[in-house]
Every structure is written in C-alpha cells, then in structure tokens.
Subunit: 317 residues, 2 copies
C-alpha cells in the first residue's frame, strides 16, 4: 500500500519486486482515518480477492511513523495524529501489517529491487511536493532512535533561510520541494511579470505549480529553466553535505520533480564531482530511481516481506 494525501494505491508485489496487480483510489482526507482504513481494505480486496496467497501487507504513509508499533505519529497531508493504523488493518485483514514512512519504504525498495540493489551504502532522496529520503549504511536501513531517520527534506541547506512548512527556516525542502519550486516561481513572476508570462500562460486559470514550471522549462522558457537549474544547485549542495556525513556509494533520486526533470540527476552528479572531497566523490555515482511511480508499493511490499522473514527467523519458523 502507498497512502498519501492524494491517492491510496494497493499492489500485489511478488518476490522479485514485480507488480502483479494494482488498484488505486483517491484519498478521502475529509473522511479521516476510519474512511482510509475502509478504502485501504477495499483496495486490497480489489487486487487480491483471495488473501490466502498474501503473506503480509506493507503500508507506506506520507508522515512520521513508529514502525515498531505501526502507529502513524503525524501525517500532515492526511490530518492524522497518533493513529494505530497497523493494529486496525491487522484486525480487519487478519494478516500481518507493517507500517513505515513512505520514503523510507521507497528507500528499502530501491535498495532491494531498484537502482541501489547491488550496493550497501546508499542515500535515497525523493523530491515530490515534499522531499523525503532514506539512508542505507553498511547494509542497514537507518532508523534512528524513534524510527524516523531519513527526513532529508529537513536537513539544513541555508541556515536561517526560507521558511519551511515544518516551521523552521532553511530546510532543503523549502528550496527544492515541489511546493517550494512553485513558491519561488510565483516570487520570480511577481518580481518580473514579463519574464514570467510563459509560466502564467502554461498555468492558464490554475495556480503556478512545480508541474507548470517543468512544462514551461520544457518549452524553453528562460525563467522556468533558471528556476529548475537553481533547484539542481540546491539539491547538489544538500547532497554534497550528506555525502560528507555519510560517505555513500550511490545517491538515488526519484519522485515527481526528478522524474519530470531528469537533468536534475546530472546536476546533482556534477555538484558532487565538483565539490565533494575527492575520497568521497571518487567512487560515488548518482542515478535516477528505476521504479517510477510504483516505487511506493514495491518498497512497502518489500519491507513487509522482510519483516515476515525476520519474524520467521526469530520464532524459528
């Protein structure tokens, strides 16, 4: 399962990380957690009418998750706080349920089945509306003290810089997240309406969003192009700092903003080559996630499979 503020997606994923069946529905944020549980169950049954062949369900949630207890601590896009999603779903479905932060689940999927599958030191950074991540170090997905490690969108990019949705100033997400690209675009248009006309035209009657910026840049608009090149420099500067802290073998980038602007992968690679200390940069490469929009469900399923295997090992089954 991939549970976000706009959609709920279910998929049956096999041992190799291939999607066998999938079903999706819009998220009814107004309906709250109980409606979401009902919708998740409906999606599960839609792609797996008979649960007897399903070992476990993994759910990736856009928010902070206590993976041990299956409790969603805080999911701003859903409006949830401290909801015991794992327990609720296990009660209804009757099979083990694993809940994890969506991008941490993606990081797991990238490592097991995607662009990081042959290495053991990996930073995964997904840039969509927000920016999330996951870190694999010496073959361990880092969890941290409370299981919430990997919030790379809220690593420091410019001390005391732009205001972020988390309330702090200067987070990477406040520069490179989709919402921030849109905000920077609107500021640039306000500062120079003539230069911003192409983006306003692309937006039509809607707001200028990150997708609009990408479209205008693809059509050759200079201001939109500059905004995205700037985004590449921001992602690059953040990546170099993370590289020095963590010394990964590879950085894998994904999410809507990257998938819509794949040159951002090259921008980050160039920044690392130019700016990271040589021993950190020599063997490092930067790649685009190969899992596309299925990254969420593949990652969640893969995490659930691992938890099952761990449980079997621990109980001797």
């Amino acid at each position: 399962m991939d549970l976000g503020g706009t959609k709920i997606q279910a998929a049956v994923v096999d041992r190799d990380g291939s999607v066998v069946a999938t079903h999706r529905t819009q998220t009814d944020v107004e309906g709250g957690p109980s409606k979401a549980v009902a919708d998740i169950v409906r999606c599960v049954h839609a792609c797996a009418p008979d649960l007897s062949g399903i070992g476990a369900v993994g759910v990736g949630v856009a928010g902070q998750v206590d993976a041990d207890s299956g409790v969603v601590r805080s999911a701003p896009n859903l409006g949830w706080r401290d909801f015991p999603l794992g327990d609720r779903l296990e009660t209804v479905l009757g099979i083990p349920v694993v809940v994890e932060n969506d991008v941490r689940a993606i990081a797991w999927g990238v490592w097991r089945h995607g662009a990081g599958r042959d290495i053991d030191d990996l930073i995964v950074m997904f840039v969509g509306t927000g920016v999330g991540g996951g870190i694999v170090s010496s073959g361990q997905l880092l969890t941290g003290d409370r299981g919430v490690a990997g919030e790379l969108g809220h690593s420091t990019l410019v001390a005391d810089g732009r205001l972020c949705t988390c309330g702090r100033r200067g987070c990477l997400e406040a520069y490179a997240g989709g919402w921030a690209i849109a905000a920077r675009a609107r500021e640039a248009i306000e500062a120079d309406p003539a230069a911003g006309q192409a983006m306003l035209d692309a937006a039509g009657k809607g707001p200028v969003t990150a997708v609009v910026v990408s479209q205008a840049a693809a059509d050759g608009d200079p201001l939109a192009t500059e905004l995205l090149e700037e985004t590449g420099r921001y992602l690059g500067a953040a990546a170099v700092g993370l590289v020095h802290a963590l010394n990964p073998r590879r950085i894998v980038l994904g999410g809507g903003v990257v998938d819509g602007n794949p040159f951002l992968v090259d921008a980050v690679a160039a920044a690392v080559k130019a700016d990271a200390i040589p021993i950190f940069a020599d063997r490092l490469d930067v790649r685009q996630s190969q899992l596309g929009p299925q990254a969420g469900v593949i990652g969640s399923a893969s995490l659930a499979r691992r938890r099952l295997a761990q449980g079997a090992a621990e109980t001797g089954r």
Copy 2:
C-alpha cells in the same frame, strides 16, 4: 595514539577507558611520515617500556584514513598523502596497529566510555580548529563506502556561503571551526575597529584566534560574545539538519572550542528543542563530552581493543 598537526600523544588505556600512562611530544611536520613513525614509536616506549602487556595500538589521525588498510589517504595538517602508517608501525612495534580518523576514534570512545555510553544512536561533533564527527546508528559506528563517513564539518550549512578550506562554499566548518571563528572575528574587527579593540588587546602582538575570541568573551566583550553566540546558532542549525537526517538519541559536543565555551552545548540544545520536528526532539539530549583532552587516545585505544576482539571472534581464538 593521537596524531595531529601540533602534537603526538601516546597513552596506555585500560579496559575501562582509563588512562594509565601517557606521553606526548610536538609533531615535527617538516620531518614527514618517517619522522612521525619514529616519534610515535618513541612515545609508545616512553609510556609502555615493555610491550608484552599491550594488546594493540590504535592511532587516531587528523585526516582521511582507510581504516581497513591502515593507510592515511590525506592529512592536510601533516602534509601526508597515501602513507601506509598501519603497516609501518606494525613492522616496528610487532603488535597489531589500527589506524582511524581521529574524530571517528573519538566518537567510538565517547560511545564506549564517555557521554554516549548508555545509548545506541549518537552524533558526536568535535569543534576544534576544524570540525569533525562520528555517527553511531542502532549500535553501529557508521563508516560509509570508503570508511570516511562522519565528516560533519563539511556538511552544508549555507549553500554557496563562506569559502571552506576544502575548496567548497558553505560548509559548517567555514562558520564554526576555530579557524573560521578567527576569520569572522578579524572581519568584524575590520568592519568596526572600535568594537574590536578588546579582542585586539587580548591578542597582544599575536593574531586574533578563536582562543582570543573566547578570552575576550569571558571578559565580557560584546563583539566577542556576539561572535560566539552566532557560532552557537550555526552549530545549532547544522545540528537540527543532522537530527532530521539521523534521528539520534543524543548529540555529544567536544573539542577545544566547545570545552572553552561550554554554553555552546546549551545553544545547540536550545536550537534542537526550538527547531527540530517534535518526534525528533522529544527524547533527544545534547551533552558535552566527558573525556576532555584525552578523548583522542581513549577513543583510539578503545577502537584497537574492539578490532582485537573482532579478530579473536573471527579466528575463533
């Protein structure tokens, strides 16, 4: 052993992390690696005339180290590149030698014997002339792909900001390292010589250094105080970003700049409480290293002891 650009220190450290004997000498940087090897051997014999009771030697080096091979890849303060320090010392001493980056060794010592000994998720940040660090996550000291993880001084603080000695702009060290505090002080004095008079007086005929700034601040000088408070805000902003990436249970701060200005510990703690996402901040605490100037030798010895134990386990001894 603690090997830096100014001093070489040897110590005999027992199982509990207590220093039993110690000996130090000035580093002869001009003499190059061969002179350093001779000086290290002399220091070892000075505090342990009979090596039969010594299980192994750990050497913490201020630079980038390939811990697996014992090769010092790059040590700018010593002027070394690609020197096989471990092999050379083993040949002369006839006992196992472990070589590691000095601050990573300190991080290990802090975790085994210092302010982090009761927990398993830890960021150690030492602020001296430079800024170095080490990360323990779920009970593993992170090494990364090449064994050089933990260069927290070169994590990003201000994208495209002040120039760092590493050649990049905007590293934490370029704001909060001792050399950067001195540079910021000199700039502030140049901008307002009257306000800087107390620091110039404290410096006497010597240059304005970070120690001079600390002295002037201790004497109540407003500009020096502001420079150090600013340093606290920089360290705090960097710490919040690292907290979001790694979700530690504790941050331990040490090194000359922190030991000379212990209020920096409170400044970082305040920044984390104010700015980190609640689930990251709730249980996190910030402490000063308890190992003082012996942190280096205690950490190196403790790492060497661990490597011996690993070797014994692997060979069944």
